[in-house]
Chain length 137, copies 2
Amino acid sequence: MQQKKEIINKLRSSNLRPTKQRILIAKKLFDRKETFHFTAETLNKEINRKGQNKISLATIYNTVEAFKRAGHIREILTNNCKSYYDTNIKSHHHFYDPDSKKLTDIDYQEVIMKKIPNPPKGKKIKDLEVVISLQKK
Amino acid sequence: MQQKKEIINKLRSSNLRPTKQRILIAKKLFDRKETFHFTAETLNKEINRKGQNKISLATIYNTVEAFKRAGHIREILTNNCKSYYDTNIKSHHHFYDPDSKKLTDIDYQEVIMKKIPNPPKGKKIKDLEVVISLQKK
DNA sequence: CTACTTGCAAAAGGTTTGCAACCGG
DNA sequence: CCGGTTGCAAACCTTTTGCAAGTAG
């Protein structure tokens, strides 16, 4: 199965040992068509449901953090006490619906900036994220 | 002192009884020139330092939440497990420096959008927030 | 073998809640 | 007085940590 090999390479190239747990998590995250928005908790539920696979919460946090550092996933800005992640690492933007607390991707070419400010001295722009909050019409 | 009267009016107009605590918090937040970025915790420290005034944490949370609902402050999007608030309720944007975890205001006319997507059916845009993440040059 | 990982449980924040006491109108 | 508000402590939820046991290379 070549999917697995790819995942192992991905891990290796980030200096992450391809352990059972990491491979399993990586498959959950990356072996899918659509991008995937998740929190540590939803990922934990998803993986441990039906009691099939068991990965401890701490490992999930570790792994997600490691994937984030390696640039395989990105963290999304939100306004509540949860860390949201996104398997879509291309620069892109989000609709945020406060009613359902759901995020929806906005393709990055859907947003074009005409003017942005210069960053402060000694800093450069790492990322630009637009969040469009919605409300009922 | 007319500042106080204004604050009381502000509270009343939002259906918030002008209690000692709310007035004190409102003064801390609004009786200043520059906009103020804070979390529940920093606000708590600020108010209760030197043991002068004592407002319980729960009341701070309540009041901040009430002010937010009333539209006197706005919540800022971040990526950690804290709720940030801003006394600047005009639409505006932020630099976020992950190193110092500090936010800096970007005046809203410093950012001009050339193109933004249409909101999903039945929804309208409530707010548009740009966060520019920084890194060392 | 050795260093990196995992799992567990406990701890550490941050935020919310239940309820009696309090107080503004 | 009445109903909204406060304060306290306990509860809760998410995230982090310490450490012994496990495992990839």
